[in-house]
């Protein structure tokens, strides 16, 4: 084994151990330590990507304890895994760095080190989710992700945050239960938990024409379980409360990374375990199509209706998750590629929306009504610009990554049957129109002069780190437009080896 093939394992274990260390460090050191570990995770992902592409090596398997498949647990890393293992920690690094001012609120309660430990546990679970090749290991880390995400929501310790945390847990436990039941049924049917042996057994069962109904039920259980956990419509009820009561950095991490971990796992199950033909045969794609199309319309309508700033971004998240699931529902090839691209676009733009929204609220006396934020971007132009870029990316305007993902989704829809194509394109058009209405309305309001402000503009001191982090995310949102071609090539290659 070559030395760099140990990196996936050590990035998971390293992050896990660092979580314990961060917990006992003094608050400022814990924060710097967390940023350092996240930076190392990004570097390890980039190094893996560089090595795999440079050596044209293809995916490799790391045997835990040197037990070969199917006896031992293994982790697997290809181009796609390496890319996501650098992209997700990078977004988290920006979220932690930019959320620094709000973390000071926690220092009064001596919770800053705890929040750093939670973030590191979350990245451990996310990395394990990316690399793991075993369904039960995925379930265990799925639960760790749920627990840490709940801890992130309740960090503020307000009544609303506790209530939102409870709602989040109840729905997520339903999702976990359904997913676990799916795994157990699959194990009882095939006797395997590793993905490649599972795939062979499922293909054999499918070709023999037996257990078609059981496989359909298992696939439906796993799909619905993960849809519930990633807050796809109609399982989104916790989203508006949670996102409007948690800390900005928690919001950024929850919306841009936690839900993506679940989606990635579902993609893995479709590609590596069942195969798209079986998904089509079980008609689970119809279920996904129904949920995602209704999600992207209802999410956009609710975002237009609400008068609260953070709730609007939260409802927009419901719609955007619908876009990613639409890509999954549209299937192998173009659909998966579109889903992956939008996953990255949404991760960068949505975290930027939450982080810069916090800064805009700070220069507006921490008010949450959209109308009260009139002129906020003039009071804080850099964060106003960052929010505007992220909003443009969500709308899908030119020179932002959002445009490419919408074009890809349209292309994927057109490659489908006529009815699916027409319904998907209509829903996409309606949702885009609604996105334009509420995001552009807010952008105009943020940049309008505030007649009530007379005299000097109130300013809030913000350090260089949050500024740099937000600017990095803004650049990433634009870079996704210009780097779309190489990224799509990477996704196609990654999916072919996934």
């Amino acid at each position: 084994m070559i030395w760099w093939q140990n990196l996936p394992f050590f990035s998971i274990i390293g992050s896990l151990l660092s979580a314990s260390i961060a917990f006992i460090l003094p608050r400022k050191r814990a924060r710097h330590f967390t940023l350092l570990i996240l930076g190392l995770d990004v570097l390890s992902g980039l190094l893996l990507l560089h090595r795999i592409i440079l050596l044209n090596a293809g995916p490799f398997v790391f045997q835990m304890g040197h037990f070969p498949m199917p006896w031992g647990n293994v982790i697997r890393c290809g181009v796609l895994e390496a890319f996501l293992a650098s992209f997700f920690p990078a977004v988290m690094l920006c979220a932690v760095a930019a959320g620094q001012p709000s973390l000071e609120e926690l220092s009064e309660k001596n919770r800053e080190s705890l929040s750093c430990a939670i973030v590191l546990l979350l990245i451990t679970a996310l990395l394990a989710q990316i690399y793991s090749n075993d369904l039960f290991t995925c379930y265990v880390f799925l639960e760790i992700m749920t627990l840490t995400a709940c801890a992130l929501i309740v960090l503020r310790d307000s009544g609303r945050a506790l209530m939102a945390g409870m709602r989040y847990m109840v729905l997520n436990l339903v999702g976990s239960g359904l997913f676990l039941l799916g795994i157990v049924l699959l194990y009882s049917l095939t006797g395997h938990l590793l993905m490649e042996p599972l795939h062979s057994s499922i293909q054999a069962l499918s070709q023999a024409g037996t257990h078609h109904r059981s496989l359909t039920i298992i696939l439906a259980l796993m799909t619905v379980g993960l849809c519930v956990k990633s807050a796809l419509f109609p399982f989104h009820s916790w989203v508006p409360d949670a996102y409007s009561s948690a800390l900005p950095s928690s919001n950024a991490i929850l919306s841009s990374l936690v839900s993506k971990g679940y989606i990635l796992l579902l993609l893995k199950i479709y590609v590596r375990v069942f195969g798209w033909d079986l998904v089509l045969a079980s008609r689970v794609d119809h279920l996904l199509l129904l949920f995602s199309l209704s999600g992207l319309v209802v999410g956009s309508l609710e975002a237009l209706r609400t008068t609260h700033f953070l709730r609007m971004i939260a409802w927009s998240s419901v719609a955007q998750i619908g876009y990613i699931y639409l890509g999954l529902a549209l299937g192998a090839g173009l659909g998966y590629r579109a889903a992956l691209f939008h996953l990255c676009v949404h991760a960068a733009a949505k975290s930027l929306l939450f982080l810069s929204a916090d800064m805009l609220q700070r220069v507006s006396e921490n008010r949450d009504r959209i109308q009260c934020l009139r002129g906020a971007a003039r009071r804080s132009p850099v964060f106003g610009l960052c929010w505007t870029i992220a909003a443009f990316s969500m709308v899908g305007l030119p020179f932002t990554g959002g445009l490419i993902s919408k074009l890809l989704l349209g292309e994927a829809a057109l490659s489908h049957s006529r009815i699916v194509a027409i319904i998907s394109l209509l829903a996409l058009a309606l949702s885009s129109f609604l996105h334009i209405l509420y995001f552009l309305r807010t952008v105009i309001l943020l940049w309008s002069p505030d007649p009530e402000t007379t005299g000097p503009v109130p300013s809030v001191r913000v350090g260089g780190t949050p500024l740099l982090a937000c600017c990095t995310l803004a650049v990433a949102s634009i870079a996704l437009f210009f780097l779309a071609d190489p990224l799509l090539q990477l996704f196609s290659l990654g999916l072919s080896q996934f």
Binding site: L162, M166, Y187
Partner: protein, 127 residues
């Protein structure tokens, strides 16, 4: 309905019924403690199902003697037991977090009724 088939799979049937009871309690009951009990029911049902799948009649626990004289065919499937053990650890952690949230909510609002707490939170927000 084939009664013989149902009897043969009685443990699986019991597990699915228990899972349903747990799921509906978790989703529909307004009392926070009962919700947590519902969750425990749900997870225990899955563990029961998994254990029953791993059990093979007439075989013993998978513990090899020092002289290695026991053949592999003498043992039940050891993997489900391992999975159940891991699952129980996960379930305990989740229960602990849910209980700690419940304690915090009770200390603040002096009720365990989720709807009442939601109303109180709303009133608190309006002030």
């Amino acid at each position: 309905m084939d009664l013989h088939l149902l009897l043969e799979n009685r443990l699986a049937a019991a597990a699915i019924i228990l899972f349903g009871i747990g799921l509906t309690t978790l989703l529909l009951n307004r009392n926070l403690i009962k919700k947590i009990i519902g969750f425990s029911f749900m997870d225990s049902a899955i563990f029961l199902f998994l254990t029953s799948e791993g059990y093979i009649g007439g075989r013993t626990a998978p513990i090899q003697l020092p002289d290695g004289s026991m053949p592999a065919s003498a043992f039940v499937d050891p993997i489900p037991a391992g999975l159940v053990l891991t699952g129980i650890v996960v379930s305990v952690s989740v229960t602990a977090l849910m209980l700690s949230l419940t304690v915090r909510l009770y200390q603040r609002y002096h009720t365990l009724d989720l709807d009442e707490i939601a109303q109180l939170v709303r009133k608190e927000g309006e002030k």
